[in-house]
């Protein structure tokens, strides 16, 4: 008991910026910022304070591990003589401060794809290895949140190095990993009372997530549904844009492009979306997923069946961003319920 108490700290809200200033000496701190009345995770500048009053960021912080545009390699010279220039640049360690448990879960989902015994994506691994996660409990889960469907919850500390709970005028800070514990050593000690406060806030939060879809049987259910006409119904209003995939913390499809200006060039990875028609367009002109329902089916099957079959985990963390931002209000929770009732 004493040991676990040793890693409980707390900090008054008005002392937070001092703490962050200390962190910024050794780390780049990326935290929620208010951008035109919505929140994005961005690098904190100078004495800036993180905007911690937020529910969740508009875009997930996956871009800090899997950037939307990322250089694979640079090169120069003429086409028939080019060689890749591989430079290993030193990177400054980073802290993602204030990451919600759903987004933290998404990282452990992406880990299984990008870093496995088949091949290791060095770019992802490097960013992952050089980043510490300061998780932040959700005292007020959104109406559209359903993280509890996925072995997680508004106060799940899984995957974090440090976990922060907002308890009114203080932040309760728990060290989860050794690295995390070291960073909070110098903060004020906490006590059992703080843990109790945290569990009260946690209970209230859990109670507010009233109807999360039950996804346990979904992967199995989906196995027999490939030819089912339900996909045409679900996808009829889909516009075929990429909002759901780009905002989703677990979507990982990317494109590889070459860009050359004069004599210098680079090969880049760019986010791509299976919802775009040209995603699977063959050079020969053959198009296996010509219709929207085929692409919608691919997206849902991939997240809730194929990924589970390959990596033993569903590729969704219940953050609800696709629900709030879809221009035509396609609701994945509704889709999951429809599937489970088939």
């Amino acid at each position: 008991m004493k040991d676990s108490l040793k890693s409980i700290k707390h900090i008054e809200k008005d002392k937070l910026s001092e703490f962050i200033k200390q962190l910024r000496k050794d780390f780049t701190v990326i935290a929620p910022r208010n951008v035109k009345d919505f929140v994005l995770f961005q690098e904190l500048k100078a004495d800036e304070e993180p905007y911690l009053d937020f529910l969740n960021s508009r875009q997930s912080p996956k871009e800090y591990f899997f950037p939307q545009t990322e250089n694979i390699v640079e090169y120069e010279g003429v086409t028939d003589k080019r060689v890749p220039i591989v430079t290993e640049k030193q990177m400054r360690k980073r802290i993602i401060f204030g990451m919600r448990p759903c987004d933290v879960t998404s990282l452990s989902i992406l880990d299984r794809l990008f870093v496995n015994e088949d091949y290791v994506d060095n770019y992802y691994k490097r960013l992952r290895d050089n980043t510490l996660i300061f998780g932040f409990g959700c005292s007020y889960p959104r109406m559209t949140c359903f993280c509890t469907s996925f072995d997680s919850g508004p106060f799940s500390t899984k995957g974090t190095d440090v976990f922060i709970t907002d308890s009114g005028d203080t932040f309760i800070i728990e060290g989860i990993t050794e690295q995390g514990k070291k960073l909070i050593e110098k903060l004020l000690d906490g006590d059992k009372k703080l843990l109790k406060t945290k569990s009260e806030i946690e209970k209230k939060a859990l109670d507010s997530i009233t109807t999360p879809p039950n996804v346990e049987k979904i992967p199995e259910k989906l196995k027999g549904l490939f030819e089912n006409p339900v996909w045409e119904v679900i996808s009829e209003r889909c516009l075929g844009c990429g909002v759901c995939t780009y905002l989703c913390p677990t979507c990982h499809c990317f494109d590889i492009q070459d860009e050359v200006i004069d004599n210098k060039g680079r090969r880049v990875k760019n986010w791509d979306s299976c919802m775009f028609p040209i995603f699977t367009l063959h050079g020969s002109g053959h198009q296996p997923r010509e219709f929207r329902f085929q692409r919608m089916r691919q997206r849902i099957m991939h997240k809730f069946n194929y990924y589970d079959e390959n990596f033993d985990i569903i590729a969704c963390c219940g953050c609800g961003r696709c629900v709030t931002e879809c221009p035509v209000n396609i609701d994945v929770r509704e889709i999951l319920r429809t599937i489970s009732e088939l």
Binding site: N34, V35, K36, D37, F38, V39, Y51, D53, F54, L55, R58, Q59, Q68, T69, Y140, R142, M143, T144, E236, R237, L239, G240, C241, G242, V243, Y246, L247, D255, Q257, E259, V268, N270, S273, F276, I278, R292, V323, T324, E325, P327, V328, N329, D331, R333, E334
Partner: protein, 326 residues
């Protein structure tokens, strides 16, 4: 509102019973407080889900190009269309996407669509968990807050200066009286931006566009964007880079799309509402609409027998911008 909904269901039910159309595109209740969403009814009993309210923010004409297989078969499609939707449908007819007799327009005189994003900001950083509208007010509730807002204070920018709230063409018109605004109002609306120095305008534009994540929600929500191969997807030649770390690529995407909409945009504002990064997408194209009116006395999507403005030429067309006299 209820009267309009009843009328919509009545008209739609009859159309489907008489098998005059294969499909009717309308709106149904969404799963979020401030949202109505597109829906598709094919059987008379399904019309009960059709609704109409100021949250019906999508331009339903965007779905017409998806139903080529019905149209090619000679079938008809019904659309529950507000003022701007109707004009988009007219544009489709002008551009031969569909024949007039194949689109059954159920016209709704529209009082304007509510700007969901602006309403949501009233609750920021919290969220709105309940919303209802009655007469000229909207009641929003969230976690520990409740507010009554005046509808007219939260209309979409484009709706405030809409010049064709009443459908310009229809097969059936649902009754309702709406006041049209003067087209000049749009000119007033852009005046502030227009009067700024070019450098400042560029700064405002580039700052907006710097948030773009190339999700193409704006393009896909736009009824005028229906090209089978969009210029951004073309690789031979690669007109535009696909990365987001090139400011030029982000700016060019918006600028080129804007010019592809010259004389074709009906200023419905769907692009702005679809953008997940809250970018003012229609900032530039609004000016092109004003120019079309000023230079060629042209408004998009009014007459099914007309041609789009850039498809015709007359000798007394304005030469402004082409031949400047110094």
């Amino acid at each position: 509102m209820e009267k309009i909904e009843e009328k919509i269901r009545e008209i739609a039910g009859k159309l489907l019973k008489d098998k005059k159309v294969k499909l009717i595109i309308g709106f149904e209740k969404g799963t979020l407080p401030l949202k109505a969403r597109p829906t598709f009814v094919r059987k008379p009993e399904e019309v009960e889900k059709l609704i109409w309210n100021p949250f019906c923010e999508n331009n339903l004409a965007v779905y017409i190009p998806f139903y080529r297989r019905y149209l090619d078969n000679g079938e008809s499609i019904g659309v529950i269309a507000k003022g701007c939707d109707v004009r988009s449908l007219v544009l489709h007819i002008q551009e031969n996407i569909a024949k007039r007799e194949q689109i059954f327009i159920i016209g709704i005189p529209c009082e304007g669509i509510l700007d969901r994003k602006r309403i949501e900001k009233e609750a920021f950083p919290g969220e709105i968990t309940e919303a209802s509208e009655k007469d000229d007010k909207i009641l929003v509730k969230g976690n520990g807050f409740e507010k009554t807002l005046k509808k007219k204070d939260f209309l979409c920018e484009d709706c405030i200066v809409c010049s064709h709230r009443k459908p310009v063409v229809y097969d059936e018109l649902v009754e309702g009286d709406v006041k049209e605004t003067e087209a000049a109002d749009r000119q007033n609306q852009i005046k502030e931006f227009e009067s700024k120095e070019p450098d400042e305008r560029w700064k405002i534009f580039t700052e907006e566009v710097s948030r773009c994540i190339r999700c193409y929600a704006c393009r896909n929500a736009c009824p005028a964007c229906y090209c089978k191969e969009c210029f951004v997807d073309c690789s031979k030649p690669q007109w535009l880079g696909t990365t987001v770390d090139s400011e030029t690529d982000l700016q060019l995407f918006q600028i080129i799309r804007t010019f592809h909409l010259a004389g074709r945009c009906v200023n419905c504002g769907s692009c702005n509402r679809a953008c997940p990064m809250d970018i003012n997408i229609s900032l530039l194209v609004n000016k092109l609409s004003v120019d079309a009116k000023r230079l060629f006395n042209y408004e998009t999507g009014i007459d099914v027998n007309e041609k789009p403005v850039l498809n015709k030429y007359s000798e007394d067309d304005s030469n402004e911008g082409f031949f400047e006299e110094h």
